[in-house]
């Protein structure tokens, strides 16, 4: 039996490479100064979905919510073997916390006929691990979090092994189900050269528009400026060309999703930021110790005197 998998992915700033430039004086993070990457555990979720497809046939659809630039992780998913990709982008999504995000994603996932929804365990920018379970609740389906291994799929049921910290649990449930996948689950495959050749030109409608408009701006001065209508028809034409080749990445907004705006963005987010501070860790008093026998012996003496060493 073939399985329909929907994988939710996120483009994140590479928080392991934060340098001084990425931090502003007021302690906020300048996201644009950081390289944007495919959230690592989302790659494990995608890999698990692709393995299911390899073994049982079916379809893998990837969905992300974010700005136009997030289309990069959708293309990357297509390079690795995903069949379809959807970008949810809308200014009204801005300031969504995990609850609002899970609501918006649930509106999108409900548009599909699905057997398995997969997410990475958590994203490295927030480390919350909340959107997966929140989404499962909104979809009204069971969740298996911290999945380390898929053990069995038999058409109706799924059996998986999940981590419980020091140890594991083997869990079975009926489909449909939502899984959150850990980094221990698999080694994500790399992009396939053929697919890369095919999908490197894949674009969302928003990207097409941006490319056409910036092209127009560059051409100014040499040619007469085209009217807005001309630009629009050019965009439409390019989009339909891409669509014919199967290279148009679907772009959905909240209106298309039929989302209730009360539950999106700021108004849909109960949590708010009160304050952001940069981390300045410093010992109150510190001493330099010479690495000599005497220096070390003196330090040990001091630690014994103040009862640090019993």
């Amino acid at each position: 039996m073939a399985y329909k998998c929907v994988v939710l992915i996120k483009q994140v700033p590479d928080t392991k490479r934060i340098t001084g430039e990425a931090m502003s004086d007021d302690g906020t993070v300048n996201r644009s100064a950081l390289p944007a990457i495919f959230n690592p555990e989302d790659l494990n979720a995608l890999e698990l979905a692709l393995q299911i497809k390899d073994k049982f046939c079916g379809k893998v659809t990837v969905v992300t919510m974010g700005p136009l630039a997030a289309a990069a992780v959708l293309r990357d998913s297509l390079f690795r073997g995903a069949d379809d990709a959807i970008l949810i982008t809308d200014l009204k999504c801005a300031a969504s916390d995990t609850l609002a995000t899970s609501y918006i994603l649930s509106c999108a996932v409900k548009k599909f006929d699905y057997d398995i929804v997969l997410c990475g365990r958590q994203a490295i920018d927030g480390d919350t691990a909340q959107v997966g379970p929140q989404l499962a609740e909104k979809l009204g389906i069971p969740q298996i979090t911290y999945v380390e291994e898929l053990m069995e799929l038999n058409g109706k049921n799924i059996t998986a092994r999940r981590s419980i910290g020091a140890g594991w649990q083997q869990v079975k449930t009926a489909l449909p189900v939502l899984l959150t996948v850990t980094g221990d689950a698999n080694e994500p495959r790399v992009a396939a050269a053929k697919k890369m050749m095919k999908y490197k030109k894949a674009r969302t409608a928003g990207e097409v528009e941006r490319e056409v408009r910036s092209q127009r701006t560059e051409d100014r001065g040499q040619k007469t400026e085209g009217s807005e209508e001309e630009i629009k028809s050019l965009i439409e034409q390019k989009c339909s060309e891409l669509s014919e080749k199967g290279l148009l990445i679907k772009q959905w907004d909240l209106d298309f999703l039929g989302a209730d705006l009360t539950w999106c963005g700021r108004s849909g987010s109960p949590t708010k930021v009160h304050r952001i501070q940069s981390v300045v860790l410093a010992a109150k008093e510190s001493k330099n110790i010479e690495p000599s026998d005497k220096g070390i012996a003196d330090m040990i003496h001091e630690l014994i005197e103040d009862k640090t060493i019993a």
């Binding site: 700033p13 909340q130 020091a166 987010s269 501070q277 981390v279 026998d293």
Partner: protein, 341 residues
């Protein structure tokens, strides 16, 4: 949705497995006590399970004014849906203003499910909680909110999160960051038994097997920790860490880099993705001290850092800085300690 109310209690989820209380609810009792006292409300713990009533006394000794006990044969083993349903019903019935969970695997599986059903806010992995006021941009003052303080962006920033327009205020709290209170066996409190209605429908999962292995080391309770990093160089050379730990009766630990390199088992990992520790003495050997590592150990009372790079960030948090070759310094320390003893 629960209306904002200032009389609501402070709740701690009393995570237990097979009748054994986890460390996190106890760790949360001292902070929970402080929040409840500041707000002038009661501190309550909620225990779900089957045959877990005797945990109530213990929780009262640790500081709870009230313990809600919800028992049912179908609550014998933790499952997301059944536990979320019971918690959701109790939250609706009693309208607590604050609900805290340990950021354990169970807490992180359960709390978001409840938050989604209750359409309430939830902040993950807090390292501190305080009560404070917040003024919104339209100059409205919200008094006595729970400040939910947590590292974000891989530990590079500390965010204070609040919610003021929807209750309850919920947070999961990192394991090991809050010291457990001393129990007081003379404390008395109220035990409230809750009727629970569940059917097999509320248990979509079948737990086929479970294997719990004891952790190889308990870093959370260690008085002294000796941690090695990538600078130690090899699994063989990690013997230096074990030797130093042995002669101090300390627990051996490691940075993520050392674990990833296979020098030692993951149970020994300290930091953002490992264990958070606050020992009396922390000796960091060959650890550069990435912010993710510091997040897990900077609250140690005394920190000794040994590194050959004088610019290593670990020195920013160290009380004793030793710039030198660990292969020379560590044997000298072992010798020095043996002589003193």
């Amino acid at each position: 949705m629960i209306r904002v109310n200032k009389q609501g209690e402070v709740w701690v989820f009393g995570e237990q497995h097979r009748g054994r209380l986890e460390d996190t609810p106890i760790e949360l009792m001292s902070k929970g006590r402080r929040l409840a006292d500041t707000l002038g409300v009661k501190l309550a713990t909620v225990v779900l399970g089957n045959g877990v009533g005797d945990l109530a006394t213990k929780l009262i000794h640790y500081g709870a004014d009230k313990v809600y006990v919800a028992e049912h044969p179908l609550l014998g083993t933790y499952q997301t849906n059944s536990y979320a349903k019971v918690m959701f019903d109790l939250i609706h019935k009693y309208e607590p203003q604050i609900v805290l969970y340990g950021a354990t695997i169970t807490g992180r599986d359960l709390a978001p499910r409840i938050a989604s059903a209750a359409k309430a806010g939830l902040t993950a992995d807090c390292t501190d909680l305080q009560i404070g006021d917040h003024r919104t941009q339209d100059d409205k003052l919200h008094k006595n909110l729970m400040f939910q303080i947590r590292p974000a962006f891989g530990g590079n920033i500390i965010a204070t999160i609040i919610n003021y327009d929807r209750w309850p205020q919920m947070a999961t709290v990192r394991e090991g960051v809050m010291p457990p209170p001393e129990p007081d066996v003379t404390r008395r409190g109220e035990v409230i038994t809750e009727k629970v209605q569940l059917t097999q429908q509320d248990l979509p999962l079948e737990i086929l097997a479970e294997h719990k292995r004891p952790k190889k080391v308990n870093l959370k309770t260690a008085r002294i920790i000796i941690a090695g990093g990538a600078g130690v160089g090899s699994r063989e050379n990690f013997k230096l860490i074990w030797d130093l730990a042995n002669c101090l009766g300390a627990a051996p630990a490691a940075s993520r880099a050392a674990v990833d390199l296979g020098f030692i088992d993951k149970d020994h990992q300290v930091g953002q993705t490992g264990t958070t520790v606050r020992p009396v003495l922390y000796i960091a050997v060959g650890i550069s001290g990435a912010i993710q590592h510091q997040a897990g150990m900077s609250q140690s009372q005394k920190i000794v850092a040994i590194n050959n790079d004088p610019e290593a960030p670990i020195f920013q948090v160290a009380h004793y800085k030793i710039v030198g070759d660990l292969n020379v310094v560590v044997p000298r320390m072992i010798k020095g300690i043996k002589e003193k003893k």
